[in-house]
Each structure stands twice: as C-alpha cells, then as structure tokens.
C-alpha cells in the first residue's frame, strides 16, 4: 500500500468534533472542507474550515445524514478523503462503501468491520470465536420458562431477560430469584411485542453495579494493532456518558492488561483499520469483564486518551487512512498521570438533565495549564434544538487523580456560560461526593435521589439583583439616548422568542418587507 497524504478532507459533521478534525487537518498541512445546515451557518467549524458548503435545512435527516449531498459536495470541493466524526454517518457501512466507490478515502474502518460490529449477534459470535469474553448467556431467542431455567442453571443468577430487537431499556427484566423466571419472561415478551412488534427475548447474565470500561485501539492497514489503555465511562445519565476518566480508578493492573489484550484481539478479528473503541462491562466484585460492543469510530471521549498517552488520535486517523504504518509500537506507549473529561451539556442538571437549548449570551471557556476545551461554539451563538445538546468537552490532566479532580473543579468554576442552564452544577457536586472521590461508582451512580440530595438550590447573592437592576437601568438609558434605536432597545414585551441580535435584526428586515 502506498502512502499518499491527503490534500483536502471533507468533514461530514458539525460542532466540536468537526472543529477537532479541522484542527488536526490543519496541523498536518491538509485543507478542511466543512458542511453546515441552516442552523449552523454561524458555527465555529464553518469559520475555521478552508471552505464551507451549505447542506440543507436544520433537521439532520435533511442535512448531515444526506449521504448523496455529502458525496456531491466532496466531489465539487475537490476533496480526496472524508472524515465522518462521530454520530451521524460515522458508523454507516453503506456510506463508508459509497465514499470508497466514489474514489475517495474513508477515514475510518473498512465497511466490513463496521457491519460486523454493528450486528449484536454477529459481533457476539465473532468475539466468542476470538476468545474475547462476552456476557454469559445465550443470544438465541427462547420462548418457554423451561428454556430460561436451563440457561439460568448454566450461568447462575441474577440474569437479565432482554428483547432481541430491543434497545432503550424496553423489554428488559432482571431476575434475582428462580421463582421470578416465568413472570419476568412473560413481562419481557409482552413489552417486547408492544415496543418492537417482536416478542423474541434472550437470557443473559446480569452484572450488578457494573462499570463501563473501554479500550482505545489503533490499527493500520499493515496488520499492526496497538491499544491506548482504558477509559472509565461509568458516570452516565439516561445510559449516556457524562464524565470519563483514565486510568480507571479501580482496575487492577493484571485485569487492565487482559482487557487491553482482548480489545486488540477483537480488532484483529474484524481486520480493523483506524481508531476504534472496544467497550466492556467490568464487574469489580468478581474482577471479571465482558465484551459489550465495539464503536467503529472516534469517540467523544477520545481526548482523555490523547492527554495521558500523548498520541493525537485525529493525526493517527489521517496517517493510517493515508496508508502509513503505525509509527510507534505497543511497548513505547504509556499511561502518564490522570485525565478527566466533563461533557458540558445544554441540560438543566437541577431538572433531571432536561435539555436547555438557547442563546449563549455570555460565553468564556476556562484555560490554564493542563486544561483543554474542545468546543464548537462562540459567545452569542445559539445552541440549536436539532442536535446533541453538547456545548463543549472540558478535559484536564493531573499527575494524579486528586490533582486532576481539583483542577477540573477549578476550571468548571471558571467556566462562564450565561443564558442557559448547563450540566456544570452536576459536575461540581460530583467532585464533592466522597464516593466519587474514592473512585467508588458504577453505571447507576446518578439517580434522581442523588441529584435531589446533592444539587442544592443555587445561591442568589444580593449583588446579582443589584447588577441586574443596574444593567437594566443602563440599557434603558441607552435606549433613550438613541432614538429609533429600533428593536431590542428597551423591550417591554417578553412575548417574542428573543433570539440573538442577528435574529432580531433579521426579523426587523422581514417585517419591513411585508409592509412595503
């Protein structure tokens, strides 16, 4: 395979990951072409790219998921490769294939690896063959409680009865006692039928209080596969990660080594190329781990791995996709210190993480030594309602976990976001929790009760009220000094949607057009 570095890469994504990839391209002397929906015309990735193309209306089904439009733009813009980021089309084997068919390089794994890992049953079979531990159980559907009892006798209690067509926690029943098997089976089957139109269920070992630990791997097209250690992603809300750290604070060294080796085997089993992540359930009680799935793309939380290993994963993706062999070997990579990532979401942590899209009236990111913020926003921008509510990722490094936590809390307190509620108060409460500080947590750590108990009422000091009144007083004075100042000068309404200044000016123009 010849090495041919890219000249111009299409970034088929938006937000912070588009910015991240554009920066990686620029650092390697590659031009980056952005695409943007109508909601993202002012976004940072559009401003940073060498060229940017509108791609359609705000809903992702009409823009960032339009494979045909993306390919057309790639051709028109003279790109020689496509980077999909994460989400959207990043794990679409069909899109990966179409990119290659169009004569462009897909900066990601081969379509075959994507589809193998995309099927729950195929992945489980492949992993078993490769000697990678999977959650004990039988993925073949069962219909009777006798069958269920037989599997339970084999793998032991507790178990989970799961819908084969399932997802999102529907059609799932935990069984802790043999007497509950029949009832749980019936309940799971009925729920599966109602939710997915398919009553097939299977039985799997239930790992109580598991941790979500994943291994970053990197493979080239020449058969070299290395791992870049683990990330603990057990702090989750709605089964989605919000805080990640590396190393995992409770993983014994021998288990880490075994897990990393298993991940490398998993990647080899599907002839993986590029950056990927093998996710495991880890049971600290028994020190056992089980393959969950492989994410065949760059992960949101990749920066913490970059920070402790010094390997730039986007650079690595670009080099490996261009045909370069890995330029380092496993024994030269080490985990140095401790890294933590907080996903700063436009979500109201005090209201059960309810999405809170809206304008960033004030926005300033924290900085300082060993603080990294990956974001795609700037002050004045609106967090759109159409996409993932992530504003930014705050990533910090410290020589040890305690220092990293303290640094992260410091950066969170510096983070200036005015206009919308965010998940920042949650992180501050988390870092004060004695259990978290000792590294004791699992995927069910965040409960409504925990939030209720730990996220106190925000304090409203008197100077806030005084500053608010002074700010209003000055705004009123400005409005008086500037006759015909027009929209927004001194708004008595409160009835309109109150978008950015740009939007208000836009509306103003529109109205003029209507009247004349």
């Amino acid at each position: 395979m010849t090495v041919k570095p890219f000249e111009r890469v299409l970034i088929a994504n938006r937000g912070e990951i588009a910015v991240r990839v554009i920066r990686g391209c620029h650092e390697r002397g590659i031009e980056a072409v952005a695409v943007y929906s109508e909601a993202d015309a002012a976004a940072l990735h559009v401003r940073l790219a060498d060229d940017a193309y509108p791609i359609g209306p705000a809903p992702s089904s009409e823009s960032y998921l339009r494979a045909d439009v993306l390919l057309r733009i790639a051709a028109r813009a003279g790109c020689d490769a496509v980077h999909p980021g994460y989400g959207f089309l990043s794990e679409s084997a069909a899109f990966a294939g179409a990119v290659s068919d169009a004569g462009l390089v897909w900066i990601g794994p081969p379509p075959g690896a994507i589809s193998s890992m995309g099927s729950k049953t195929a992945a489980r079979r492949l992993m078993t063959e490769a000697g990678v531990p999977v959650v004990p159980g039988a993925i073949d559907p069962i219909t009777s409680s006798a069958e269920a009892a037989r599997i339970v006798a084999e793998i032991g209690l507790p178990v989970m009865i799961k819908a084969a067509a399932g997802g999102g926690g529907k059609g799932m029943r935990a069984v802790f006692d043999a007497d509950e098997i029949a009832t749980a089976l019936a309940a799971a089957q009925s729920e599966a039928t109602k939710s997915f139109g398919d009553g097939s269920v299977y039985v799997e070992k239930l790992v109580v209080q598991p941790r979500h630990v994943e291994i970053q791997i990197l493979a080239d097209a020449h058969g070299n596969v290395v791992h870049l250690f683990e990330r603990d992603c057990s702090i989750q809300r709605r089964h989605q990660k919000v805080v990640e750290e590396t190393p995992c604070p409770v993983l014994p060294g021998a288990t880490r080594a075994a897990m990393c080796a298993a991940a490398v085997e998993a990647a080899r089993a599907v002839d993986y190329v590029g950056a990927g992540t093998v996710e495991f359930l880890y049971d600290p009680a028994s020190d056992a781990f089980y393959f969950l799935e492989m994410n065949t793309r760059l992960q949101v939380e990749h920066p913490i791995t970059e920070v402790v290993t010094g390997v730039d994963l986007v650079h690595a993706q670009l080099r490996v996709a261009a045909g370069e062999p890995l330029w380092f070997t496993q024994d030269t990579v080490a985990q140095r210190g401790h890294a933590i990532e907080c996903r700063i979401y436009a979500e109201d942590a005090t209201a059960g993480f309810r999405p809170s899209p809206g304008p960033l009236r004030g926005y300033r990111e924290p900085s300082g030594a060993w603080v990294r913020v990956d974001s795609g926003v700037v002050e004045g921008m609106e967090i759109p309602i159409h996409y993932d509510p992530m504003i930014a990722k705050l990533v910090v490094w410290g020589p040890d976990r305690d220092t990293a936590i303290a640094r992260c809390a410091r950066a969170l307190r510096e983070y200036h976001i005015v206009g919308i509620p965010t998940s920042i108060p949650f992180f501050l409460a988390l870092f004060d929790d004695p259990g978290f500080r000792q590294g004791r947590y699992d995927t069910s750590f965040i409960t409504p009760e925990w939030l209720e108990e730990n996220l106190g009422e925000p304090s409203v000091p008197p100077e806030l009220a005084m500053a608010a009144a002074v700010a209003r007083f000055e705004a009123d004075r400005r409005a008086l000094r500037a006759p015909g100042a027009g929209p927004g000068g001194s708004d008595s309404g409160g009835s309109d949607s109150g978008g950015s200044d740009w939007r208000r000016i836009h509306r103003w123009r529109t109205m003029k057009g209507v009247w004349r």
């Binding site: 004030g362 005015v418 100077e463 500053a467 608010a468 008086l480 927004g488 009247w515």
Partner: protein, 170 residues
C-alpha cells in the same frame, strides 16, 4: 430614580437605581439605605460592581425584561421588570395603539416622528412626573400615525401622546 423588580427563581428583590453625581449609581436593595456602586459592563454578560470596599464580578445579562445570570455554576433565568411599564401598558394603550398618559407631567423627550416604523416595546415618548421619568412604548410593531405632543410641553392626565397604527390593528 428607577425602580426594578428583580426575580430569579424563588428569589425576588426590589432595587432602586439612580445616577450618583460622582459617577456610578445609588443602589438600594429592598428599601435598605442606598449604597454607592461604581463599575460597568465587562464583556457581553459580566458586570463589575465596586462599593463599600467590596468588589463583585457577576455574570449577568439583561435583554429587555429578560434576565440571565450564572451563579455557582448554575445558569438561571429571570426577569427585571419596571413596574411602571406594566401599569402604563395597562392604562395607556387601547386596541388602536393610542398612547395616553395616565398622569399629568412634562414631556421630556419625543423619540419618534409621524411615519416612523416602530417595533414592539420601542420607547416613543418620555414624560416626567413627580421627578420620575416614565417611558411610553409602542404596544406592538407598527407605524406612527401622529405625534400629538412635543418636548417641553405639559400634559394632563388622559392626554393623547402618540397614535400608532399597529400590525394587528392594520
């Protein structure tokens, strides 16, 4: 003096503000003795206030009556209301956009002329009464049909100030 009702979640305060002759403002919180504060806006959504040997840097943004703040990492929203706006809104406008003063006073400023396009909430006329400046605003977007007063003139309670042909009325 201007009086504002500040509301943030469960918190409410009444704040009086007027200019201090030496710069800055006299600010009184909930009827307490006014304190002399100095400072100003720092960036788009930050204010620096100094007074009584104290220094405060607060994350505050005001857009009309809409208030956004950040406190202890919490992003909070609320309102800063001039109670006179509400009173005037209730008293001074009818459906056709006739702006009437409910109190006698002196017209200090006229900010629009006939034919001008105005937006909802845009200040049209300022009338001073009892040492208080009262802003009369357009009730809705529209076009100014006529201005019935001029700066310096005195008005009686019930006097017609401005006629606005509003979008709704048109």
């Amino acid at each position: 003096m201007s009086r504002y009702e500040v509301q943030l979640g469960a918190h409410a305060a009444v704040v009086d503000v007027r200019l201090h002759p030496e710069g800055g403002w006299w600010v009184a919180l909930d009827g307490a003795d006014p304190v002399h504060l100095r400072g100003g806006a720092v960036g788009a959504a930050e204010w620096r206030l100094d007074g009584d040997g104290q220094h405060h840097s607060v994350a505050v943004h005001v857009d009309g009556e809409r208030l956004s703040v950040q406190s202890g990492g919490h992003g909070l929203s609320g309102t800063v209301v001039d109670p006179r706006d509400r009173a005037l809104d209730a008293l001074s406008t009818d459906a056709h956009g006739e702006i009437v003063t409910p109190m006698p006073g002196a017209v200090v400023r006229v900010l629009v002329a006939a034919g001008a396009e105005v937006t909802a909430g845009q200040v049209l006329v300022v009338v001073e009464a009892m040492k208080m400046e009262n802003e009369f605003k357009a009730p809705a977007a529209g076009v100014v049909e006529a201005v019935h007063v001029q700066a310096g003139s005195s008005v009686d309670a019930g006097a017609l100030l401005v006629s606005v042909r509003t979008e709704e009325g048109a």
